[in-house]
């Protein structure tokens, strides 16, 4: 029975196979033989209905087309186009033509005539629009060819009168992108009359369709972007568009006005209904300010943003933006800001507001009050009070930019910025704090303002508090009470949020060093010293006390009289803190002490240059490696590496370079060592065990090269070549070792093939750099490439082995700026003895707070790894929003890691560390065809490998079994 069954199965199986073979055979014939264009032709001829044809075209569009066959494909498409009756198919063909003409390496001038031809006979508006788009693609591909551009512009002008808005849109777009830049050139081109592109586009500012109006303005902006100088006459046209019914028109018009105002800031324009004249930039500023109270928030955002970049505006116009004349029952009233200022200047303490405190004063002349000023009045007041936070943020940003360029404006806008600290949206608060920090050079805070600023220190959001600390670092405070107030509030903050410790200390450091004279009178009070009595010695571990000391010591640095006020224990504490928190406590000249530290500091400065020299010398020494015997080479490398490492430790600014070159030398050292192994001289089977060292070396070199490539910022292409070269050598080594240690040829075949592929890859991507690699491993390898391709694995291995030994050491050119990526995990601190308890199977959130330095694109590369005691490892991808960027080259990761595990009996430690994920194929440029197509490239997100780059932190956790 079984045999019978088997037979039947076998029979059926054979049948199936036969059929499949036939099918495959026919398919293969079709797939390989004809070119792409032919296949397309067949497909299109087969199509019975327009829907079919459309399907074929869609399928066709998914695959890229090589530059050589583009022209053929285009011909086929055009041929079909003439025959096709269905507009949707024609539309698709038109769009394909556009895509095809973008193909790199293909010159589209040959298809332009056809495209223009079919344009003339086309009836469908949609297809027309698409064809114009195609022409635009062609035109942008051939920016040098003036004649073609002229022709296209002509075509566009012809179709401008089309009834469909889509066609007119595209025509305007075409004009904007291709309209001739230089008048002189257009006049030279005979036959075609020089067209005034601006005039033509300008005519369409009054088109009946808002979409066309928008397109016209956009085209004008495009002209500007391409370097064509817009005429000033456009200004008046654009101003009219500000009262358009449609928001996209208004939004674009605001942009245009801004552009013109930047082009002709000093021109004079008349004020309507009066004889006066003002500068154009002022007029434009007023108009844009007016748009800040537009009905559409999109326009408001646009207007508020642009205000920030109008720096040439006159100061009295600028200051008007913050002015809003208040009145109540027709009597002039002072703003709360004015009242606060007055209270302050009169020396009174804020008594709180009484009813009628804001009672209006003088009568207002009814005729003089202007309710909707044409000018800039109160634009920012409105913008900052806007309903949408997008507008408010834009207004704050604009305020920031204007204040940076005008100190007097900075002083004026301070009150408003301080007000924004109480916004309901955190982003706005944060933004205004950052803004304040940026303009802090221009301002000095009044006490009442400082008071409001400091009130925000109690905010529960860590970002806000830290931003505020940063702000306080660079604020100027006017009085000693101010300093005292700041200190008191910061200490309050410290008790409420102890995690802010470091940030607060840092803040006080700067506060002290900025205001030594203001701190001086406060010292006795702060240290609670008494002229006659000794007071109790404060607790040295109290963060608050340390905070006070940090303030005082930093102030004392530039204030030599201060140490006289210190009591004995203060000096002791100074010595302690100087050692334990040396980054916060500066070196002081204390009476009766040796100035050890201050004596050292100048010498460090003078050493800088020699250390650079030293680095150069040690690296140059290595060039001679070639001529040394292996033993000598090893020794030379070893002590150079040692020198470099030491140098890196001593000189933080050279650490990146030193580390980078040391790593490279270490790779070389490993390679040399591996090649020195005895195993090479003996028959393979005997040295199975000893080859460990060589294969480990190969592995390590690979790792190190990945580190070199991805862990350093500022690595340039010439370094990448060398690194890849080193990696190739490591791979060759690996291949040789495997060949020696494994029996049988099968795995070797695969490895050889793979290796040769790698070589090929290397050659293709670094083709430009190959001349620099004279005499190197690759250089020799490529010479022998044809031979290698045909040889057997064993032979290949032999060749590789000799080449590895003969290849020259490549000198690594140093990049200008190089920094090693590093990360420090601040939280969890890993010191806690109390395990984090949670029910097993459920999830516990662990807060992770880390600073990252010199990491490029941390959102994609930085991962968190959790290692459980059972060896299980888990990789967590933090959200992009978890990364903050507090300064250039610095990032901060604040995220939550979710842990979960089955029950343990004892509390155990898990390790948390940060990884740098890399993917070497991400550097490969993408094919342009794919971008336009429907294919979504998901390649970037894949991870090839990871490098740990922070010290692991141990967290004590205890998953308990669930109680039943």
């Amino acid at each position: 029975m079984a045999a019978h069954l088997k037979k039947r199965v076998y029979e059926e199986f054979t049948k199936v196979v036969q059929q499949q073979q036939e099918e495959i055979a026919t398919k293969k014939l079709r797939l390989t033989k004809p070119s792409k264009s032919a296949a397309l032709h067949i497909d299109l001829c087969k199509a019975t209905s327009p829907a079919d044809a459309l399907q074929y075209l869609l399928q066709f569009a998914r695959k890229p087309v090589e530059a050589e066959s583009v022209e053929g494909v285009v011909r086929i498409l055009l041929e079909h186009y003439y025959k096709e009756n269905d507009p949707s198919v024609r539309l698709k063909i038109a769009s394909l033509l556009g895509l095809l003409s973008k193909t790199a390496g293909f010159s589209p001038d040959c298809i332009m005539d056809d495209a223009i031809n079919i344009l003339q006979n086309e009836k469908s508006h949609q297809v027309l629009a698409q064809l114009l788009d195609t022409l635009l693609a062609i035109g942008t591909k051939l920016p040098e060819n003036q004649a073609i551009q002229m022709r296209l512009v002509d075509v566009a002008c012809k179709h401008l009168t089309d009834t469909s808005h889509g066609v007119r849109n595209k025509c305007l777009q075409l004009l904007g992108n291709l309209g001739s830049l230089e008048k002189s050139v257009t006049k030279d081109a005979e036959g075609l009359a020089a067209r005034d592109v601006q005039k033509i586009i300008g005519d369409y500012f009054s088109d009946q369709d808002p979409r066309v109006r928008t397109a016209a303005i956009k085209a004008m902006l495009q002209l500007h972007e391409r370097g064509l100088k817009l005429h000033q006459t456009i200004y008046n046209q654009a101003c009219k568009l500000l009262s358009d019914d449609y928001e996209q028109v208004r939004s674009a018009a605001v942009q245009l006005i801004w552009v013109v105002s930047q082009l002709y800031p000093e021109s004079i324009v008349p004020i309507p209904s009066s004889n006066e004249e003002i500068r154009l930039v002022d007029d434009a500023f007023g108009k844009i300010c007016h748009m800040v109270s537009d009905g559409s928030w999109v326009v408001r955002v646009q207007a508020a943003k642009l205000l920030g970049s109008m720096e040439q505006v006159s100061s009295h116009f600028l200051e008007q933006t913050l002015d809003k004349k208040l009145m109540s029952d027709l009597r002039r009233k002072r703003t709360a800001h004015e009242r606060a200022k007055e209270l302050y200047s009169s020396g009174e303490f804020s008594s709180g507001r009484k009813w009628g405190d804001d009672a209006p004063k003088e009568e207002v002349d009814t005729g003089a009050v202007n309710l909707i000023e044409s000018g800039a009045c109160g634009a920012f007041v409105h913008g900052l009070e806007d309903e949408m936070y997008e507008v408010r943020i834009a207004a704050v940003e604009a305020l920031c930019m204007l204040a940076q360029s005008s100190p007097s404006f900075a002083e004026k806008c301070l009150d408003f910025l301080v007000d924004m600290f109480n916004d309901e949206i955190e982003e706005v608060r944060l933004q205004s704090i950052h803004t304040m920090r940026k303009i802090s050079n221009n301002i000095t805070l009044r006490e009442d303002q400082l008071d409001t600023v400091l009130a925000v220190l109690e905010d529960s959001s860590r970002d806000i508090r830290e931003a505020l600390h940063e702000l306080l670092c660079c604020t100027n405070v006017s009085t000693k009470e101010g300093i005292h107030l700041a200190l008191v509030e910061l200490l309050k903050n410290l008790t409420k949020y102890p995690t802010d410790r470091d940030s607060i200390w840092k803040c006080l450091k700067f506060l002290g060093s900025r205001h030594p004279t203001l701190v001086l009178p406060l010292v006795p009070e702060l240290l609670s010293t008494h002229p006659f009595f000794d007071t109790a010695e404060p607790d040295m571990d109290d963060p608050a006390y340390i905070a006070v000391l940090v303030l005082i010591f930093n102030a004392a640095k530039t204030c030599p009289t201060m140490p006289a006020l210190f009591s004995d224990h203060t000096f002791r504490h100074y010595a302690y803190l100087r050692d334990s928190l040396s980054h916060l406590v500066p070196a002081l000249r204390l009476p009766g002490r040796k100035l050890v530290s201050s004596a050292v500091s100048p010498s460090i400065i003078s050493q800088e240059d020699p250390s650079q020299q030293f680095l150069q010398q040690s690296l140059e020494r290595v060039y001679s490696l070639q001529h040394l015997d292996p033993q000598g080479a090893q020794e030379l490398l070893e002590f150079t590496i040692r020198d470099l490492q030491r140098l890196g430790e001593l000189q933080s600014e050279l650490a990146g370079v030193a580390d980078f070159s040391a790593t490279y030398l270490r790779c070389q050292l490993l390679l040399i060592k591996a090649l020195q192994e005895k195993l090479w001289n003996v028959a393979a089977p005997l040295y199975l065990k000893q080859s460990d060292l060589a294969s480990a070396a190969a592995k390590q070199i690979m790792e190190e090269t990945y580190k070199m490539e991805f862990m350093y910022s500022g690595v340039e292409n010439k370094q990448v070549v060398i690194i890849h070269h080193m990696r190739l050598q490591a791979k060759a080594l690996q291949l040789i070792v495997t060949a020696r240690t494994t029996r049988g040829l099968d795995p070797l075949f695969g490895m050889c093939e793979k290796f040769l592929q790698e070589v090929d890859f290397f050659q293709r991507y670094f083709i430009a750099d190959l001349p620099h690699l004279q005499d190197s491993f690759v250089d020799k390898l490529l010479d022998l490439m044809p031979r290698l391709m045909t040889s057997k694995p064993a032979e290949v291995v032999k060749i590789l082995q000799t080449m590895l030994r003969q290849s020259a050491f490549l000198h690594l050119p140093l990049p200008e700026q190089i920094h090693k990526a590093s990360a420090t995990i601040i939280e969890p601190a890993g010191e806690s003895d109390n395990p984090l308890r949670f029910t097993s199977g459920l999830v516990v959130a662990l807060d992770v707070d880390a600073t990252l330095e010199h990491v490029q694109d941390p959102q994609n590369t930085v991962k968190v790894q959790v290692l459980y005691p059972d060896g299980q490892a888990q990789m967590i991808h933090p959200k992009p929003a978890d990364f903050r960027n507090p300064g250039p080259g610095r990032h901060r990761l604040i995220t939550q890691v979710y842990l979960s595990h089955t029950a343990w009996t004892e509390a155990c430690q898990v390790e948390v560390r940060l990884l740098l994920a890399y993917n070497s194929s991400a550097r490969i440029p993408k094919c342009p065809w794919m971008e336009g197509g429907e294919v979504s490239p998901q390649v970037e997100t894949s991870i090839e490998g990871t490098i740990p780059f922070s010290k692991p932190v141990k967290v004590y956790i205890m998953p308990k079994p669930a109680r039943r």
Partner: protein, 603 residues
């Protein structure tokens, strides 16, 4: 021209007076009543509008097409049950969903005070409120509601209080916008009023703060928070007397978010009752609130207060700091007064009055600085606690009103709900700066506006496209000449091409031809003559199609020219020129050209 009549209701209308609204609008034959408010100050008949004035005799339902209520404040909706149930109105009443939800609560509360406490007779009953609410049709924002075939209304967001709306009333091409009360600056729980460029014939706007330009809201908020925070930190108690709806919610949100931000633990209480019910509705109508609440409500509904708890009478004696919101807002009675009495003696405590207080109330007294208050039973209460005043008003100020007028671009503006003197100022400003005519009728006064209604005419697409194609450049604002036939049929107008008009009307086309004879002195033969005419015309009319037909005649487009020789005089030749009516221009040009004679041929 059609007329638009607006009439604030006598005695209790919204004319030059604050705090009562009832306006009658007649637009293109439709009568709409805007708001139906009452006056808090009177306890007799004067409290409600005099509805008999509307239709001297006859039913209100027959006269009014609809009633629109802008928001739930009693001065805008208080007379509604009286109007619909006691006077008798069965037509539709339009209001927004939140107004529909909250309005009956307030009416019921008002009824209770009037009937149960003051013992008034002849007042509407609970059942009447319910019956009245059954006649309500709720509308959504920006939803166009067809009241009947011609009348349509549309609601716009107005800020002010939850569910407050501005209404556009439209009949044909005529429209009126009624703003109700509105707020142009956003606050902690509501957004700002917004309207599109609807270009109504008339904008009826409130003008409570016609002569005020207000300071930034932020300063006031910051001050308020700082005061509360400082007092609480000192260990003092803060009393905030409020009215149940509107500002109370704003202040709650303000304090709640501040507590959240600053991580404060001090308890906040809210006196229960009406407020709790109202808060419930605030929770439901999130789309009507401001951006922040709408955006964050997925994580947490801002009206589900974490720090604000219900107040109990006993809590007032608890030691330690606390913040209490208590009703009513002017400290004249109820819980707020009770708490005030308990806390007034301690200088650590504070009372914050968030709004205006009527003369005679305790609130007014303490605000004007009185430190010793005489209470009932000759007790003297010494006020040691701090007294603060914070104005949180939700009406648009003069700038806001101007801004809204600018946004809507009306033909004329009508000011209501404000004091005459202040309105005068604003009226002048509107006329000066916006160049829009402005009215401010007194109560009972009728304003009549002539409108120039536009008459829509349908045009066939083919004709439109054909005519459009003739002009080369687009000129949106300029009128353009168009050839067509206007057909008026069943009160609608259509513009069609003449061919189609003929077809539709079943008429035969008549051709009108002009003929003209031109006498020329020429002795040559007709054929030769025709040839000369042909070559002459060909050289003059370069862009026209000139043909020489085999039968000897010449055509220019459709104009026919024939040469004939009259028998009597061989020296003269006659040119017959004939053209159709359509080619009149070219035809007359040709004749005048030919009359000048042909150029002498080179012989």
């Amino acid at each position: 021209a059609a007329l638009l009549r607006v009439q604030p209701q006598p005695r209790l209308g919204a004319g030059q007076d604050v705090g009562r609204s009832c306006i009658l609008v007649s637009i293109a034959g439709k009568n709409v009543m805007l708001d139906c408010g009452m006056h808090m100050g009177f306890n007799d008949d004067r409290r409600f509008p005099d509805f008999s004035y509307i239709t001297q005799n006859g039913r209100l339902t027959d006269f009014l097409d609809c009633v629109i209520i802008s928001h739930f404040h009693l001065d805008h909706c208080g007379a509604l049950p009286y109007f619909s149930e006691m006077v008798g109105y069965d037509g539709p009443i339009y209001m927004t969903h939140p107004t529909q939800a909250i309005c009956p609560i307030l009416l019921e509360d008002y009824r209770k005070i009037a009937v149960d406490k003051k013992g008034e007779a002849n007042f509407f009953t609970s059942q009447m409120i319910k019956d009245c609410m059954k006649k309500v049709v709720a509308v959504h924002l920006h939803q166009t509601v067809q009241v009947d075939d011609e009348l349509e209304i549309k609601a716009y967001y107005a800020g002010h209080v939850l569910g407050a709306a501005m209404f556009q009333i439209k009949v044909g091409s005529e429209s009126v916008v009624y703003t109700g009360d509105y707020n142009m600056t956003p606050d902690r729980h509501l957004g700002a009023a917004w309207i599109d460029k609807c270009r109504p014939n008339l904008l009826i706007t409130e003008s409570t703060y016609a002569t005020t330009i207000r300071d930034s809201k932020r300063c006031r908020e910051r001050d308020f928070l700082k005061k509360v925070h400082e007092t609480v930190e000192r260990g003092g108690k803060v009393l905030i007397p409020v009215f149940a709806l509107g500002r109370a919610q704003e202040l709650c949100i303000l304090l709640e978010t501040f507590w959240e931000r600053m991580n404060l633990k001090v308890p906040i209480y809210f006196s229960t009752g009406l407020t709790e019910k109202a808060n419930h509705y605030y929770k439901l109508f999130i789309p009507w609130t401001n951006q922040k609440i709408r955006k964050t409500f997925v994580q947490r509904n801002m009206f589900e207060f974490k720090h604000i708890k219900a107040f109990d009478r006993a809590f007032a004696d608890n030691p330690g700091p606390m913040v209490v919101f208590a009703t009513p807002g002017m400290l004249h009675a109820g819980q707020s007064l009770q708490i005030f009495r308990k806390w007034a003696g301690n200088e650590k405590n504070m009372v914050i009055m968030p709004g205006y207080c009527v003369q005679g109330t305790v609130g007014h007294k303490i605000l004007s600085g009185q430190r010793k208050l005489e209470m009932e039973g000759r007790q003297v209460l010494e006020v040691k606690m701090q007294v603060e005043y914070m104005s949180f008003s939700a009406h648009a100020d003069a700038k806001g009103i101007m801004q809204l007028v600018g946004q809507a671009e009306p033909e004329s503006v009508l000011l209501v709900h404000g004091e005459a003197k202040k309105m005068e100022f604003l009226k002048q400003k509107i006329e000066q700066e916006l160049r829009v005519s402005c009215y401010m009728p007194a109560n009972g006064e009728t304003v009549t506006l002539p409108t120039s209604p536009s008459i829509p005419v349908g045009i066939s697409l083919g004709l439109l496209k054909r005519e459009m194609a003739q002009g080369l450049l687009p000129e949106a604002k300029k009128p353009r000449l168009l050839h067509g036939t206007l057909i008026m049929k069943d009160s609608n107008f259509r513009l069609v091409s003449s061919e189609q008009a003929l077809k539709e009307l079943g008429l035969a086309e008549h051709q009108l031809r002009f003929t003209c004879r031109v006498h020329l002195h020429d002795t040559r033969k007709e054929q030769e003559m025709a040839l000369r005419v042909y070559s002459h015309l060909k050289s003059v009319l370069k862009d026209h199609c000139v043909q020489h037909l085999p039968d000897g005649s010449v055509t220019v487009e459709s104009i026919l020219i024939q040469a004939a020789a009259p028998s009597e005089d061989p020296g003269t030749k006659v040119l017959l020129v004939s053209w159709t009516y359509q080619d009149e221009e070219l035809g007359s040009f040709l004749t005048s050209l030919l009359k000048k004679g042909l150029p002498q041929a080179p012989s």
